[in-house]
Symmetry: C2
Subunit: 294 residues, 2 copies
């Protein structure tokens, strides 16, 4: 989908944008401060194993590094190999202290734990509105046709020239299936029908969840949209695993290839944990935790 | 989870809050204006069937009705039967025109279609930041124990006294599985392990997606957290289908009961389309579209 930059989080003195394809006016990007490290004030004591696995201490270790981007940038998993500086590390999302003003009334915010809550939130000092931060869904299609899958070669940074599935952010007001079909139309000019859910892959560090559907072409037609250099069907043995754009796409296609070869395509849930301090260019620097199947 | 009110969307002259348990200081709630009805400017022409099914025209028909709420309010699917006025209708989410100021710099926004995009967005007139709006995930657990399932009776409005699964908004920085376990701890003081993904249910009208996991108790202990009056195990034949809190919970439990009786528990994807103009109190006023299984 053609979009401008999307803000992931903001820290005092540093700014973080999630890159989006097109629409960016010479923007720049920074790694950002870690997740809020607030101590729960009112919630029941939790068993330690229920705490998020991507701990604030690890997030704190992310280096703050600045680099330039181009106008056409990615909306994807923030872990792509396109950064123009080799010192760039995976960016985290969700520093509440970077929300400085209220979207409703423009009042300045304070950063406190609201009554009855557990985490520090940005609270408007004028109208009292609380600005919550929640993960975003990226929706896409894994299109099967003649025992092959459809991939798109990216025409945008990051990951220019690398292969991906058609996918993008879910918009307010649409379902995941509708969003996945829309993105497929925009990126591959392919009219598809979703067949079944295939995977939910969470990437907590960057506040994203991938929701991928198996889909089929309604008509055997596809061609690159503005974000794609080309679109091509690949047999399983020919999938360009060494030229994929994102960790999430690598995981999806590996799971799919394994399922097809085993003769049993399932639904997969998993958590992609990027290796702390790894470069966005290393899409293999991850572990797949909590892998569950249905 | 104990939280204050969460803004769903804002319209000129009217305000819409998604209710959250606790932390609300005598807030009030309104139905809000519909989804942005912008005409795509630059994207490829789409096949009509790829457009979102919850059309703006339907959303536009929602009545604007004001009612009082109490301090303890719901974070759930916005379609519960607790509204204190019988004229309340289901609220929609995502009117971009209600974003009036930039969270980063406090500058006023303009509402235009950015270059290379399709939809009207709120763009800061000072720093150029675009404020995107995306659906939120609600994560929860369907806990199986001794051929029964664990339900919680709500101690908060809306849907006070009605039964639900432990569930709540996914926080930035956590995975869906972690969020579901956290919510279960907070609402049922139950330590659980997620076993498999069970359902993804989108509710586009209100910008929510439910992600429900099958789970099991690590220890056979549970008791009501602050948001629950009581927690109880129910056999399938005793599930209180006439006293459930939300449409999403009704759909989840119906699918589960059908699967168990058929001896094959699957993963389900579906879109809950609330009947336009229906009351939030009518949790059966929906259709389940695009139901897919894995």
């Amino acid at each position: 989908m053609l979009k401008a930059i999307q803000l992931l989080g903001l820290s005092s003195g540093s700014v973080a944008y999630r890159w989006k394809p097109h629409g960016c006016n010479g923007s720049m990007s920074f790694s950002i401060n870690p997740l809020s490290c607030s101590t729960p004030k009112t919630a029941p004591t939790k068993p330690p194993q229920l705490l998020p696995r991507s701990s604030p201490s690890k997030a704190c270790s992310l280096r703050v590094t600045r680099f330039q981007s181009t106008r056409s940038e990615s909306k994807m998993d923030g872990t792509s190999p396109s950064a123009s500086s080799s010192s760039v590390t995976v960016q985290s999302a969700g520093n509440v202290r970077n929300i400085k003003f209220c979207q409703l009334c423009g009042g300045p915010t304070k950063h406190e734990i609201p009554d009855g809550e557990e985490k520090i939130r940005a609270i408007c000092t004028i109208c009292g509105r609380i600005a919550y931060q929640n993960p975003k869904m990226v929706v896409g299609c894994l299109i099967e046709h003649d025992n092959k899958v459809l991939l798109c070669k990216r025409n945008i940074q990051p990951s220019y020239g690398l292969w991906t599935l058609p996918a993008g952010y879910l918009e307010i007001g649409e379902s995941a299936a509708e969003g996945a079909m829309r993105e497929t139309w925009e990126e591959a000019l392919a009219e598809v029908e979703v067949v079944s859910p295939f995977a939910q892959l969470d990437i907590p560090l960057i506040g994203q969840t991938y929701v991928i559907f198996l889909a089929k072409l309604k008509k055997p037609h596809f061609s690159p949209g503005p974000e794609s250099l080309e679109c091509q069907l690949f047999s399983l043995d020919d999938i360009p695993f060494d030229s994929l754009a994102f960790s999430s796409i690598l995981v999806t296609l590996k799971l799919y290839a394994e399922d097809v070869k085993a003769g049993n395509v399932k639904f997969h849930y998993g958590i992609i944990k990027k290796r702390p301090g790894s470069s966005p260019s290393d899409i293999r620097a991850y572990t797949l935790d909590h892998h569950l199947q249905s």
